[in-house]
Symmetry: C2
Subunit: 359 residues, 2 copies
């Protein structure tokens, strides 16, 4: 395994300060219960695959506990609804949809990237083959649609608001898929600019995070100014999330992320550190990067070489600085909504966690 | 190439009588124009891929004419709306959604089956790789959702009806995907019963055809009895379509279908002819079938052997007879709606076409 190198003292300090934000615990039970009620069919094995994917059962369908992800998107959605003064229960179907769509995208991403594990467990395609995993992903996407539509059965007679929610979710999904397409198109290229990179992550990851805050707010208020603020805040938060993800994709520890160190280099992804290094390295470094990215497949020596080039270019500090810059923008934007201090505090803790998290 | 064998004189006669049904021409222009307006984005190449998939452009994005499919599903939808006395324009967004969802399922099916051509043109994954094709399929699925939701912008203020339409489409999609999952699960097995087969095709193909008639009727009437009749009629018509498809998958001519003769045997699909032969062949034939289906890969000698077993078991006549039986059920069911004779006539021509078509 490749060793972690170049950890800055500032980051180590932040790591110690890192707290798991309370928002991510607050809604966990109600989110899990809602999600479980959405995938309760038992007439086809594909639903067992989906329960496995969500972390509720093992590959033989035996219930297990504790391998779910962060549930970031549904938590943001419920938090937004409460923050604007809404009843969190009105946002539950939307929150469930967001988490299901996120998992649909993970299933297909894992196929595309040949990822064999997620959270230290084999992925769907690794266990059941590409065809069944592809179809399972599609099924999950539809279960997400059904979750939103279920609002109508939830005594919610506001069909206008439901349709608005359905539209926002559809729009976010299309943006997310456009971002995935851009990401795939960028692979193997060495000429991606920062602006192209930002446009890609704003869709691939940003769209669903932005939609989480926006949609939650839609379920709690009709105030257009507030809605616009939540949308803008979500945009910044999406950048924080993905930039930190890119940092973990190069310098993250396998025991935290479940992925090998330098995985994004091995895959020749155009993540932020690569885009930065390609732009800021000296001419020798750039030449070496081009050589490495033109190789058919990379190994440990190439990963170490790229890490060296990044260290010289100050890539890690740059990327972490950018994450903090968007963290500040998100906070500033959120403050504009003039909400009670407790919400501002919760949001601040969450934003900071997203900027410094190790997983 | 394997030669066509065992064509019965009755089928040859029917082939001569076969007329391309007028319903499939009647709505063609308005369907194509609506679909083209749905996929008019030009900021990402993935939309060029979708236009190629729909048959409107070549792989370099140059517009071409005349390689679209039958547009069966949108035609059924618009026909149903008119037949129950509705304004066909109200059903256009739904009709477009149905065709887009059908094409989404084709893109993913082609990946799963390694199909390199459709309508004599290379498939998306064959041209642009599996990852881009997978994502393009997902994008098309979302464009289909947007089409339904667009009803709201179409001066249609009946949000209840729009939501009902969205729900029906979601339900049909999930059934379709369940059917695809069953189809994949059946591959390589030799113990599929007729009842399992019917349950699979009722979802894989039946769901969207059933939804086409049902949804079209929903856009034209609120009469529950009529809606139930259209749903039932669609179920029978779905069987007609898929059973004939299975016949073409074994005995269809490459110049008509664009696929090699015996393709479903080569792929060890559990289509109706195989299910029938496995049940009705003599013990020697069954033993041989089992042997063949347990081989890693099949070639021309195995295809010829299976065709011989099917000929002795009377498989082709049985399958064609079943298609005609469902054709009659569809007609009988449609008659219950007590619609003007011209609609009954049109529907009769279409049902018969679906039962005897060569492509």
């Amino acid at each position: 395994m490749i060793l972690r190198r170049g950890t800055s003292p500032k980051l180590e300090h932040e790591k110690k300060l890192m707290t798991s934000p309370e928002i991510l615990d607050r809604y966990r039970d109600i989110i899990v219960n809602t999600l479980k009620a959405r995938i309760d069919q038992d007439h086809l094995f594909v639903y067992d695959m989906l329960r496995y994917c969500m972390g509720w059962s093992d590959k033989d369908g035996i219930p297990v506990n504790g391998v779910m992800g962060k549930s970031l998107r549904p938590s943001l959605c419920l938090f937004a609804c409460e923050a604007v003064g809404g009843n969190m229960r009105n946002a539950l179907p939307a929150a469930a949809s967001l988490e299901l769509i996120h998992n649909f995208s993970l299933i297909h991403d894992e196929i595309e990237d040949f990822d064999e594990t997620r959270h230290h467990r084999p992925t769907l395609w690794a266990l059941w083959g590409i065809n069944k995993a592809l179809v399972a992903g599609n099924a999950l996407r539809i279960v997400a649609d059904q979750s939103m539509e279920m609002m109508r059965k939830n005594d919610d007679k506001d069909t206008e608001r439901i349709l608005k929610g359905v539209e926002l979710l559809t729009e976010a999904c299309l943006e997310m898929i456009e971002g995935q397409y851009m990401d795939i198109s960028f692979e193997g290229r060495i000429d991606i600019t920062l602006s192209q990179y930002m446009s890609m992550i704003s869709r691939k990851t940003g769209a669903l995070i932005r939609c989480s805050l926006h949609l939650g707010a839609v379920m709690g208020t009709e105030n257009l100014r507030t809605l616009e603020i939540f949308r803008r805040t979500g945009t910044s938060l999406g950048y924080v999330f993905q930039i930190r993800d890119d940092i973990l994709g190069i310098w993250g520890q396998e025991e935290s992320t479940g992925k090998p160190v330098g995985i994004d280099i091995l895959r020749k992804k155009n993540s932020l550190p690569i885009v930065h290094a390609m732009d800021k390295a000296d001419s020798k470094g750039r030449e070496r990067l081009r050589e490495i990215y033109s190789l058919q497949s990379l190994g440990e020596p190439e990963v170490l070489a790229v890490l060296d080039i990044m260290e010289q270019a100050g890539t890690r500090d740059y990327a972490q600085g950018l994450a903090h810059q968007y963290e500040e923008e998100a906070l500033k934007s959120f403050s504009d909504a003039m909400l009670p201090d407790s919400y501002k505090f919760d949001f601040g803790v969450l934003s900071h966690f997203l900027a410094v998290r190790e997983y």
